[in-house]
Amino acid sequence: MPEQMAKRDYVLEKIKTVFTKFGYDAIETPAIEYAETILGKYGEEVSKLVYRFKDNGDRDICLRYDQTVPFARVVAANYKTLPMPFKRYQIGRVWRADRPAKGRYREFYQCDIDIIGTQSLVAEAEIAKVMAEVFTTLGFSKFKIKFNSRRLINSILNDLKIPAENQAGMIRILDKMDKLSPAEIKQELKSLASDSEASKLLELVCVEDSSNDRLSLFQKYNTTEIQEFLKIAKGFGIPDEALVFDPSLARGLDYYTGVIFEVYIPEVDIGAVCAGGRYDDLCSLFCPEKFSGVGVAFGFDRIIVAMEQLKLLDEISLNSQALVAYFNAATLPDSLKILGDIQTAGLAAEIYFEPAKIAKQLKYADKKSIPFVVMCGPDEKERGEATIKMMKTGKQKTIPQDQIINYFKGYSSL
């Protein structure tokens, strides 16, 4: 409905503005892909959540599960003509055959940014900066960008002598950390590792200290990537308190290889509102070239829920900011001129379509929460004036018609 769409458009516009500020351009890919493109890219459990069906031509097709895999396909098909490194944003619907719950939907919007064709950690840090700027711009003050490194997790698992073929499975179990208790996680881990190995792993990743203290516990493993990332992130001016190193962060998807991210809003219990990370070999499934990339997806619908809960969207009204009243055929030309002037001043404005009673026209404005009604009746037309009614206070102000543009241009609350 219009009220909800006004809020969604407002949020979308803000997110897009941040993306474009960092030089991301938009692309779109089809909602439907061949099954072979989508399946086998995410790991077994996730593949079950893909909507898959046969079309009338008996083609095996899927609705896209995210925008990253279709993006990889597009890059693989076009890399020779794309500027490299290639960065883009993509905003669209994705579909997951999941059981709906709070913050979990079968159809929802993702806003993705990806940088492909560079291994530089400046890319990870830029992504973190964009995340920080998006959530700051939207009015969140306490968001946490949790991060970890798949390389670090693998280095820990190698140290525990976990066979390579079991590591992906263990990472998927670790990813459930915020849904299951440590005991349940341990139980699940036992299918892939010994009791002592599982205990050691949990003891390592479940530390309650602050970001920097946590990092010092991992000296024996490979933390150079994380150190370097933090250094560049600081250069980008990301606030220290927004970046939280979380060694238990795993991300369920198979394709991540380096730094991984999840963003949480501590006051809102809705899960991650943004997530992603570094993937090194995604495109190699579609072409002989290998492109390293890093990207995140913003969970648009969860962000809306969080903003509504924190009352960050209460002020957003419908588009129209001024209604020009319609008195009669003789005054209509003046009214239409006034309409144009209000729009020139930068306000969204509309004319009432019929010369109805003014009370009815005011009621219409009220119903749409339009803050100004501008009237030019026969008397005003005679004197070259217009009357502005401020709907909030009911006060009326009559000014010369040729001052309409400056009046609204200088209006303090616009």
Binding site: G410, Y411, S412
Partner: protein, 206 residues
């Protein structure tokens, strides 16, 4: 003429702060040759140049460190949202930023400003004031001679600097309430230069 050791102080070129600013510098023992039309006035007995500027440009010069010091009204600093270190407050340049309206106007209290047209050279300060008072009004930005706008039906009230009130009276305007009290201040650039101390010592500051 420019050597890196030479300091610069920005001073209003002409207007109500010029004389007070120069008097202060002379009282510190600085000597200047009679000035022709040059906008840079070298001091004869100290490594200092005086830059003659429009007062609303002074914050820009000082914030960038082009001028190491400046003498400017607090009203200008507030309008430009520049918050430098203030070294000294002067007795001159005292004034108030006030809302004034024609004697026969319905505008008597802040609440009456709702929806009215207010002409001003200080749009930022006015918008802050309106926000603080939870009011909305149409701001008509004008660079000077704000007092004539109500008479021309361009505005219903004005927001302007009042010193003695004679200009207002001449246009049949009544001062209603104060938005900001202001006086001339000596400010220091946030950009560091090692020779600043010498000037401060000379002026008897610190």
């Amino acid at each position: 003429m420019k050597t890196p050791e030479r300091l610069r102080i920005a001073v209003q070129k002409s207007g109500r702060l010029n004389q007070g600013s120069m008097d202060f510098l002379v009282s510190c023992g600085l000597a200047f040759a009679p000035n022709g039309h040059s906008l840079i006035l070298p001091c004869q007995n100290f490594d200092l140049d005086v830059l003659y500027l429009r007062d609303d440009d002074i914050p820009e010069y000082v914030s960038r460190g082009v001028a190491d010091f400046g003498i400017v009204g607090q009203n200008v600093l507030a309008e430009k949202e520049f918050k430098p270190k203030i070294l000294k407050k002067f007795d001159f340049g005292k004034c108030r930023l006030m809302i004034a309206a024609p004697a026969d106007s319905v505008i008597k209290t802040p609440k009456d400003l709702e929806g009215e047209r207010i002409a001003t050279s200080y749009p930022k300060l006015l918008i802050d004031y309106l926000k603080k008072e939870k009011l909305e009004a149409a701001i008509i930005p004008i660079s000077g001679s704000v007092e004539i706008t109500p008479d021309l039906n361009l505005a219903d009230a004005i927001c302007d600097i009042v010193q003695t009130g004679t200009t207002l009276k001449a246009h049949d305007l009544v001062p209603l309430f104060t938005i900001l009290e202001s006086q001339a201040v000596l400010i220091e650039s946030p950009i560091n230069k090692q020779f600043k101390e010498k000037f401060l010592l000379k002026c008897g500051i610190n």
